[in-house]
């Protein structure tokens, strides 16, 4: 059995007050393991993004705990939590959120620069990650000159540049056509997932289910079940 990367227990999250009070995530518990590609799947409004935010230390749960490699992240101070995200979590946002005024290389190097790695060293290292995602020759271009798939790969390079244990993908194929989306996820599975890394991927794109090790289905804020995917490594 692989080591537990993320342990979510009894997570609840309410939004709003009075009559507008909404129970977005209802008593969600699950474990995700290192070396695993773990999908969170469900229709819009099912609470996937809220759950992902709580797991990644961005949104404080109303109740419940999140332990990353045994450590309860919501007991950390705000600064410790920021350090935790910087050092342990890698994000690939749905809209990429790349800086259009920086080069592709500088975008990929941002986590390293935030970790106070010297500029030249950070660029050198980021170049290696761009090489991993096959964009070494696009290093000096601004992201706006790249295709959607290429921008997605820059976002992946940026996410892995921080050498995180947990990689979080939010709807990675939402802005891509079917083929590109599949290629990206296939690439991630083959090149980014390692024995010491867990990938959490939120999606409702069934075309990429084939790459999941496990798929947690959500509906109305609740877990409807966890299934083994076709890419099950465990």
């Amino acid at each position: 059995m692989a080591e537990v990367a993320i342990q979510a227990s009894g997570l609840n999250r309410w939004f709003g007050e009075g009559e507008a009070r909404t129970h977005a995530v209802k008593d969600v518990s699950f474990d995700a393991y290192l070396g695993e590609m773990f999908y969170i799947e469900g229709p819009s409004g099912s609470g996937k993004t809220t759950l992902l935010s709580m797991i990644s230390g961005i949104l404080r749960p109303s109740s419940g705990t999140v332990a990353v490699e045994g450590k309860d992240i919501w007991r950390l101070s705000p600064d410790e939590l920021a350090d935790f995200r910087l050092n342990r979590i890698g994000f690939v946002f749905q809209d990429y959120h790349l800086f259009p005024r920086l080069t592709t290389l500088e975008n990929a190097a941002i986590p390293l620069i935030m970790k106070k790695v010297a500029w030249d060293e950070a660029m050198e290292e980021a170049r290696q990650y761009l090489d991993v995602v096959g964009l070494k020759d696009r290093a000096e271009l601004p992201p706006v000159k790249l295709s959607g798939g290429e921008q997605q790969r820059v976002a992946i390079a940026r996410a892995i540049a921080g050498r995180p244990d947990v990689l979080i993908f939010d709807e990675p194929t939402a802005s891509l056509d079917g083929d590109t989306g599949r290629r990206i996820v296939e690439f991630v599975k083959a090149n980014v997932l390692t024995d010491r890394r867990c990938i959490l991927l939120v999606t409702h794109d069934s075309r990429i289910f084939e790459y999941a090790d496990r798929i947690m289905k959500m509906e109305d804020g609740m877990v409807k079940g966890i299934e083994r995917g076709r890419g099950d490594a465990n």
Binding site: I58, I113, A118
Partner: protein
């Protein structure tokens, strides 16, 4: 931190349109502020030209006098009383008045006449042409070669004209540190000739110029002069009094202050709004940085750096532009009154810092409030 500031720098500078708009806003504001205040400083300097040029350390005058041009004649006994005051090394009279000159062409020109003590000629200007002692010659006058000099049809040594229907002869061409404010030429002559040529009321002493034995004697001289019902001011105090008069009793200061405030508001509006737009456009990126692990202090440092860098660059450009404009204007208009002094630069700097601070606060409030969760929600 240097790496993240470099990122902040690139984010700002690479957004050329916004960066240019920010620079234009601040540069323009600084340019206007410096130009306005420099012009005012120049006017104040010119308003005190006689005080600067004559160079006496202590000036005795009627307390109601606000400027050299508006002197109130004092009786001769004031001069005698001042001379007999403890701590006075010597004291001389100065006459300051206006006269009308009829030039050789037949046209009339108003002039300022300064009458220097006959025995010492204390307060005399440096002569570019002619000899000092020639001022004792019959009908002798020295003319100041400044921007108003051509109005007397560029006189030379020996040039004759009529001054209040008296014959006058130029015996010297003088140079002074600062030319006058009112755009009229200045003539120097002896005190007695001045009062003889220019119709006067009962009293003729415009000012008593005093050389104290030491700095320590000045307070006592002031006390004794006050006891006479008059006022003794050091040259600095007199210049300050003149400046105060122009600032607060002529409307000039209020107008310049208003223009400076308007410049500040224009700069603040352009820069503040552009910076705010810049922050808004990059808000999701700042949110992404926050999600990735940037602490609030890092984001604040980035915004402060961007605002400070832009403000200081705009400040430098504004000063450069103002200095260039003043330089060019002085080449074309020799009497253009504008002097950039440290207080102008200081005032503009303070205003730029305020612009940067307000712009930063607006941006920081927005960025600090952004929830990284919003980034996930798109």
């Amino acid at each position: 931190m240097r790496g993240i500031l470099r990122i902040a720098y690139k984010l700002m500078v690479n957004d050329r349109g916004k960066f240019a708009a920010l620079l234009v806003g601040i540069t323009f504001a600084v340019f206007l502020m410096i130009s306005m205040t420099a012009m005012f400083a120049g006017i104040l300097s010119k308003a005190s030209s006689t005080v600067i040029n004559v160079g006496a350390r202590v000036w005795v005058m009627d307390p109601a006098v606000n400027t050299v041009a508006s002197s109130i004649p004092m009786p001769d006994y004031v001069l005698d009383a001042v001379r007999s005051t403890n701590g006075v090394r010597y004291a001389v009279p100065l006459y300051s008045g206006a006269a009308l000159v009829k030039l050789r062409s037949g046209t009339y020109q108003a002039v300022t006449v300064l009458g220097l003590d006959d025995s010492s000629l204390w307060g005399r200007p440096d002569l570019l042409e002619g000899r000092v002692e020639d001022l004792y010659a019959e009908n002798a006058f020295a003319v100041v070669r400044d921007s108003e000099f051509p109005k007397l049809e560029n006189p030379r040594i020996g040039t004759e004209f009529e001054l209040n229907d008296h014959r006058a002869v130029i015996t010297g061409i003088a140079d002074v540190a600062v030319s006058g404010l009112f755009g009229i030429p200045t003539l120097y002559t002896t005190y007695n000739r001045a009062v003889q040529y220019i119709p006067n009321a009962r009293y003729t002493v415009s000012f008593v110029l005093v050389e104290p034995k030491s700095e320590a004697d000045i307070p006592e001289i002031k006390r004794n002069v006050r006891a006479l019902g008059y006022q003794a001011l050091t040259s600095e105090e007199f210049k300050e009094k003149i400046a105060t008069f122009y600032k607060y009793q002529t409307g000039l200061g209020t107008n310049v202050l208003l223009m400076t405030v308007i410049s500040f508001i224009v700069g603040l509006s352009i820069s503040g709004q552009t910076f705010y737009t810049f922050i808004l456009e990059n808000l999701d990126k700042f949110g992404a940085l926050k999600a990735i692990g940037a602490k609030g202090s890092v984001l604040v440092a980035m915004i402060l750096f961007q605002a400070t860098f832009t403000a200081l660059t705009g400040y430098g450009l504004g000063i450069g532009l103002a200095a260039l404009t003043i330089f060019v204007a002085k080449l074309r208009l020799p009497s253009y009154a504008a002097t950039v002094v440290y207080s102008n630069l200081g005032l503009a700097f303070v205003m730029v810092v305020v612009i940067a601070a307000i712009s930063s606060v607006i941006g920081i409030r927005k960025v600090i409030r952004i929830e990284p969760f919003e980034i996930f929600r798109g």
